[in-house]
Amino acid sequence: MPILTLIQAVNDGLKVAMREDERVLVFGEDVGPKGGVFLATEGLTTEFGKQRCFDTPLSEDGIVGAAIGMAANGLRPVCEIQFQDFIFPAFDQIVSEAAKLRYRSGGQYTAPMVIRTPYGGGIRGGLYHSQSGEAYFTHTPGLKVVIPSTPHDAKGLLLASIADPDPVIFMEPKALYRHAKGEVPAGHYTVPLSTLRTVREGEHVTVFCYGSMVPVVEKAAAQAAEQGIECHIVDLRTLLPLDEQGVLEAARKTGRVVIVHEAPRFCGYGAEISAMIAENVIEYMEAPVRRVTGFDTPFPNTLEHHYLPDERRVLDAIEEVARF
């Protein structure tokens, strides 16, 4: 099987989808001849022509709004928002429109579409090229929110998202674009949405994470193992709709939980995981449920390595919870 980086896997996934289904089209800012600022769409215009992969004017509202109309009229748009930080001009189209169209029309009109967008820190992008806005979307019923952490999952989840009958926000961990490498099957395959991935089995501490934090947690877990603490790592992959039973089982298994994400803590996605546990399996908990997250500040530039949860911080939480 070929070894691809995460960004190559995304590119491959787009090509497979476009070859298989002529309703699929790709558009956004700079996705055409330039191939996207991260090269996710490289070669698409050449292979599929300007009708199926093209640049748009600089308007995220227009990109998402048009995608909704295309989706409602028989196409399968996969649009790109250049950085997740720039998705907010399209926020109304996403939360008021794409998310609610099926509900408000009783299924007469629907929006099967994918919004791909790179998220997260680690590239010295400062306030506006680093954010992790997943919680804005996971609080919005009607949306699906998917975040891969490996090349294999990136392609498989992307193909599942494109095939999905509902709108999917597909957030790509840009810090892993070139750093995550792995085997990726050629051609079509899917990783079903709303399934968890057990990254590592262990009986002492359960760690929930996703996207860019997965390799950080893996490294911390390796260090914890040296001290005899075995971590059970769960990559959530689909944040909404979440496999809640799977999460609760994994939490119950060890009774000790750490949740890791880049986004600010306050009302971040980790709060939901923790609340779910406190609501359903609190009696199995043998330690406080710890969150290791970005700070409740905007995203800084020079000091981003302090802002982002790293092995040190994750390990510290694992140790604390294990020893409680």
Partner: protein, 375 residues
Amino acid sequence: MQSTQTSEPFRVIQSDGSVGKYKVTLSDAELIQCYRTMLTVRAFDDVCMKLQRSGRIGFSVPNKGIEACQVGAASALRNTDFFFPSYRDFGMALYHGVEPVEMMHNMFGNAKDAARGRQMPVHFSFVDPIKFFSISSPIGTHLPQAVGAARAYQLRGEDHVCLTSFGDGGTSSLGFHSALNFAGVWKAPVIFLCQNNGWAISCPSSEQTASDGFAIKGVAYGVPGVVVDGNDVLAMHQAVREAADRARAGEGPTLIEAVTYRMGGHSTSDDPTKYVPKEELAKWQERDPVVRFQAYLKKRGLWTAALETEWTQAAMERVTAAAKTAEATEGPGLETIFSDVYAELPAHLRAQGEAAFDLARRKGSADAGDGAFPL
């Protein structure tokens, strides 16, 4: 063909009902269909106002004054075209054969409403007999959606067009800007119908923008703009037909400004006497679009006082019967809160639905029934 507010809007029917040299292409049957639809819109308004005032529905939106815009525009399109309407456009659906009872199901928010009572009244959605896109409350969001849908036609090489309708206030929205810009660049087969009815709730058109009318805004996007007398069915028909012809011929979008007037309040919740100058209203009352069209039909020999009575009564009866049927239809089941969020019911919504039914069983509830969660 660019024109501005300061120039005269395109008009066909003069106040005495004459049309000068204009060649009317609509058949007698179509003309009568236009007129009777306008009467049905008025009947619908009247009935809804009474239903609202007597507390039987929560809300409605009057259309008095803008019936010609809706009906004239609709008459110029095919029933295979795609409508992206605002909440003040349902005359378009009526013209193409949507039954008043379908609308009344929405007004009462009952189980037969397309949206199962999830939407506020006046937020219709139809797929049959025409594609009348689910109406949203946020202003302007449907404009780029119409452009996207139009682009789909373009890509598939189909000759359908999209018509999207919005108010003078809507031109300030984000969607207006993105939609006109994208449509211009894509040469998408879409018609932008701005119904300048003088007001955005309490904000007069003159304070909505400093531009010389609204049609001229097309210049900013390379989209031709035309100003039409919105109280003139035939002028509306002509303008929309030309725009549709252009769109089908691959010549791209058109922005039509229909100059008209909201003769009632913004909605049943609004008291326009607080802000609408009396003289202004009086002036527009003299330009009533129904009266004007009547004059033309009379000249053409299609209208008599007797027919008027017959048609008015028929419209009233049709709408009243629709309201009765809708009012007698049962409300949506508790399970409709949880369905249609996604194509498939996810586990967490199943759990929430089951808990809701369980609570209703244990603690009782006025209208939830005591069955099990059926989804």
